[in-house]
């Protein structure tokens, strides 16, 4: 089918050339105009991407000039004094996303394996569609649940327990506010699990049957089949799914803004309120009055953009690699 399609495109292209000759003889070239129109719309994508990058870079020039590298290393954020250091936000974004992805990865891969390898029938299908359904719930609704249901529960039950039993660790010190880094990590985790799970599921489904059959024929148990045949085959695809999840985690705005407590501080304790890059933009941008303040927020946006672009490019390369591998593997 695929092969055939490429042939047909070649055929249409050569036809295109002929038609163009006839049309231009008539002094009108519908095909050429059509191609230019579609090309124009298609390249608008590149234009948008350029516009976003260049636009944000230009808008953040005042902050770039004023603070230079100190913008990234400074931790004093004072709109009244005109002092802007973004370190607490960068710290908050990186810590919350990394912790969330570390917990979410084994859970997602485990769930994807459960769906594809252990319960591949109706049960697996039902779980898969439930997970997909919940991936569609918007961020603001996760935030609503986070602030009105989860945070009070954390404050009453979980955090006092952590302080009582693990309070000797620097990670669980301080007053139980409910909102804070812990709440942000949990809400990000809940939100990225469906994404990682469904991509991992696709990757696992692409593992050729022959791979698994070979392992089973050698007398492998189910787990050994998964470990020896399934996981190695899907490794880069799963990694791609995780990296894509990381991109989502870093850019996650509404739900995090609602539960992280919005305090620009760097603290080891998970119970303390923190702040992230998207959250500070969400909270302050509409009210930023001075030129420098909005430029500083734009620069935070620029850092966020560069981070997510790098992460996404990495993820796409990994996932595209698997797709190519899959089509090559199909012929074996």
């Amino acid at each position: 089918m695929n092969q055939f399609h490429y042939d047909s495109v070649e055929a249409t292209v050569s036809h295109d050339e002929q038609v163009r000759d006839i049309d231009s003889a008539r002094g009108f070239s519908g095909d050429r105009i059509f191609k230019m129109i579609t090309l124009g719309f298609a390249s608008s994508i590149i234009l948008i991407l350029l516009l976003i990058t260049v636009g944000m870079a230009v808008e953040s020039v005042p902050a770039l000039k004023q603070f230079g590298w100190k913008f990234i290393t400074g931790s004093n954020w004072d709109a009244v004094q005109g002092q802007f250091g973004a370190l607490p936000y960068i710290w908050g974004s990186i810590v919350s996303s990394l912790l969330a992805i570390i917990i979410a990865t084994p859970l997602s891969v485990g769930t994807a394996l459960f769906i594809t390898e252990i319960a591949p029938g109706k049960l697996g299908g039902a779980i898969a569609s439930l997970v997909e359904l919940l991936a569609a719930i918007p961020s603001v609704i996760y935030g609503l649940w986070g602030i009105l249901v989860m945070a009070p529960w954390l404050q009453r039950t979980v955090e006092p327990f952590l302080v009582d039993h693990f309070g000797f660790l620097p990670f669980f010190r301080g007053a139980p506010y409910g909102v804070g880094m812990l709440a942000a990590v949990i809400i990000i985790m809940i939100m990225i699990i469906p994404i990682i799970t469904s991509i991992t599921k696709e990757v696992l489904l692409a593992v050729p049957k022959s791979q698994k059959e070979a392992a089973v024929a050698l007398g492998a148990t189910r787990w050994e089949t998964i470990r020896m045949a399934v996981l190695p085959y899907g490794r880069s695809g799963i990694l791609g799914a995780v990296v894509l999840g990381l991109g989502r985690a870093i850019g996650e705005t509404m739900a995090v803004t609602m539960v992280i407590g919005n305090a620009p501080q760097i603290s080891l304790s998970l119970l303390d309120p923190a702040y992230t890059m998207p959250s500070v933009i969400a909270n302050e941008f509409a009210e930023a009055t001075s030129k420098l303040h909005s430029a500083a927020l734009m620069e935070i946006g620029l850092i966020l953009l560069v981070l997510t672009l790098l992460i996404n490019i990495m993820a796409r390369v990994l996932i595209w690699g698997v797709t190519r591998q899959r089509s090559a593997g199909g012929h074996i």
Binding site: V9, A11, T12, H15, V19, G30, I33, F34, K35, T38, L39, F41, A42, S43, S44, I45, L51, I52, G55, E59, L107, V109, G110, T111, F114, I127, L130, V131, L134, A136, I137, P138, S139, V140, I141, L144, W145, L148, V149, I190, I193, T221, R222, W223, G247, R248, I250, G251, T253, M254, I281, A282, F285, M298, L304, L305, L309, N312, A315, R316
Partner: protein, 279 residues
């Protein structure tokens, strides 16, 4: 033999771990769903759909302005987002194979991973600054920028499923390439494309971050597209973080309505998209 027992135990242990992981994943998701339905159903009434929000402290009121505002924003965003996506996809699927098409495809995938709040910043720079004020128009542009890459990629997938023989049959009859593309290829894939569009609108309907500093939100009815306008997700956000129990109830009701609208849209899309596979 001993090794076999150990292996079986390890196997069973791993199977149980995967089951536990699945349960851990499903529990919060089901809880969220449960709370939206429970709290939302308790708070919803006719006023929700007909009234605008009351001032803080006063009970009652609704989110009618947010519902209408969201509908207007989505309509305007679709107006320029969908044609751009479809025509772009025509280029990718019908003139595929060149390097430019691959770059565009890659850019679209990368663009759909850009955080939505960044789209809001761009719309702010492009629309709000030159027009000297927050406006519904700016919000629509922000949402449209999110719609474009989604529509582009789903439409391309659908166009590629149209068999080459159909195109060839049309070309062999002497129909020009552009007419073939519009009247044969695009038409054959129409059902799938409409499905993709509905799904992308459902996805964007809940976007909040790009609206924060473009549309801004409005406690009252917005009259012009050049003025701030209310939007359902914005109202859910503002009411959820407020300290008033009455506003919390409205936020839950809004969340339930938003989820029902989104799931309704994707259900319609899926039912509509159920077509006989072409051979």
């Amino acid at each position: 033999m001993n090794g076999m027992v150990a292996r079986s135990i390890k196997n069973a242990g791993m199977m149980i771990l995967m089951g536990v992981a699945t349960l851990l994943v499903l529990t919060p998701l089901i809880l969220i769903f449960f709370h939206i339905v429970k709290e939302g159903a308790g708070a919803i009434n006719l006023d929700f759909f007909t009234q605008i929000p009351n001032p803080p402290g006063e009970s009652g009121g609704g989110m009618a302005n947010g519902l209408v505002g969201s509908a207007i924003l989505l309509f305007m965003a679709s107006l320029f987002g969908i044609p751009t996506g479809i025509f772009g996809a025509l280029y990718l699927s019908e003139y595929e194979g060149n390097r430019l098409a691959n770059i565009i495809r890659f850019s679209a995938d990368v663009l759909s991973g850009v955080p939505s709040i960044i789209t809001g910043l761009v719309a702010y720079t492009l629309i709000v600054v030159p027009m000297h004020g927050f406006s519904a128009l700016a919000g629509a542009v922000a949402l449209g920028l999110i719609i474009i890459p989604i529509v582009l990629r789903t439409t391309e997938e659908q166009l590629k499923m149209v068999p080459g023989t159909l195109r060839e049959a049309s070309l062999a009859l002497g129909v020009s390439f552009w007419r073939t593309t519009l009247q044969v290829t695009l038409r054959s894939a129409l059902k799938g494309i409409v499905t993709g569009i509905l799904l992308s609108i459902a996805r964007v309907a809940g976007e909040t971050a790009p609206l924060l500093f473009t549309t801004l939100g409005n406690q009252f009815w917005g009259r012009k597209l050049t003025e701030p306008m209310a939007a359902l997700p914005l109202q859910i956000f503002n009411f959820a973080i407020s300290p008033y129990a009455d506003w919390h109830r409205l936020a839950w009701a809004g969340a339930l309505v938003l989820v029902v609208i989104m799931f309704g849209l994707s259900l319609v899309a899926r039912l509509f998209g159920r077509q006989k596979p072409m051979t």
